[in-house]
Symmetry: C2
Subunit: 98 residues, 2 copies
Amino acid sequence: MNFELMQSKCEEVSGMMKAIAHPQRLLLMCHLSEGEKSVSELLELCHISQSQLSQFLTRMHREKLLNVRREGNFAYYSIADKNMTKLIQSMHKIFCKN
Amino acid sequence: MNFELMQSKCEEVSGMMKAIAHPQRLLLMCHLSEGEKSVSELLELCHISQSQLSQFLTRMHREKLLNVRREGNFAYYSIADKNMTKLIQSMHKIFCKN
DNA sequence: TACATATATTATGTTATTATAATATTGTAA
DNA sequence: TTACAATATTATAATAACATAATATATGTA
């Protein structure tokens, strides 16, 4: 792998790191790695205000990391980026096993 | 895994994510994942000012992510946290293969 | 001693993140 | 139509991150 490619990869990937470089956003991603969840469910799972949760979700959706599916009054979010799912799974192995 | 544990893990791990949530710091870590490097070497590898490089290294050393070894005029940095090394390797597999 | 080289520190202006409060929107049900 | 519940948006104050310039320290060498 040449250096220029390495640099541009880092540029790209560090953006994804930023998304999970926050305790609550990482927790969100961990919960979402187990499947789609509604905003209300996420609100119960993470100790965070409704406003901030919505802001985080909106932001990560804008960054193409999350999908939304709206059904009536509810919004269901899921991880949009396959690599993000893989990453969370790797992190789980590394940091949460033993 | 219970939720409280999950939360405290996320608290801890998101700190590490922060360290690599920056293009140049991630690039630094990638280069360091191949072994110890001197500041001068890193300065050549990353396009970054001497001051900022030193600040980044100092910061990550303070956060126990890096080790320093001083030899005469030079300082050699290496990754101190085994999990960080594992993480960088996983990321390499996920983002840089194909 | 004087000077060069490698690295670290300090200071500072700019921009981005975070947290919170307040308000708005939209869909559903009475 | 009114009211409520779920979610989104806007505004804003506090804090942290970033980039850069300037200066300092420490080691090695002529």
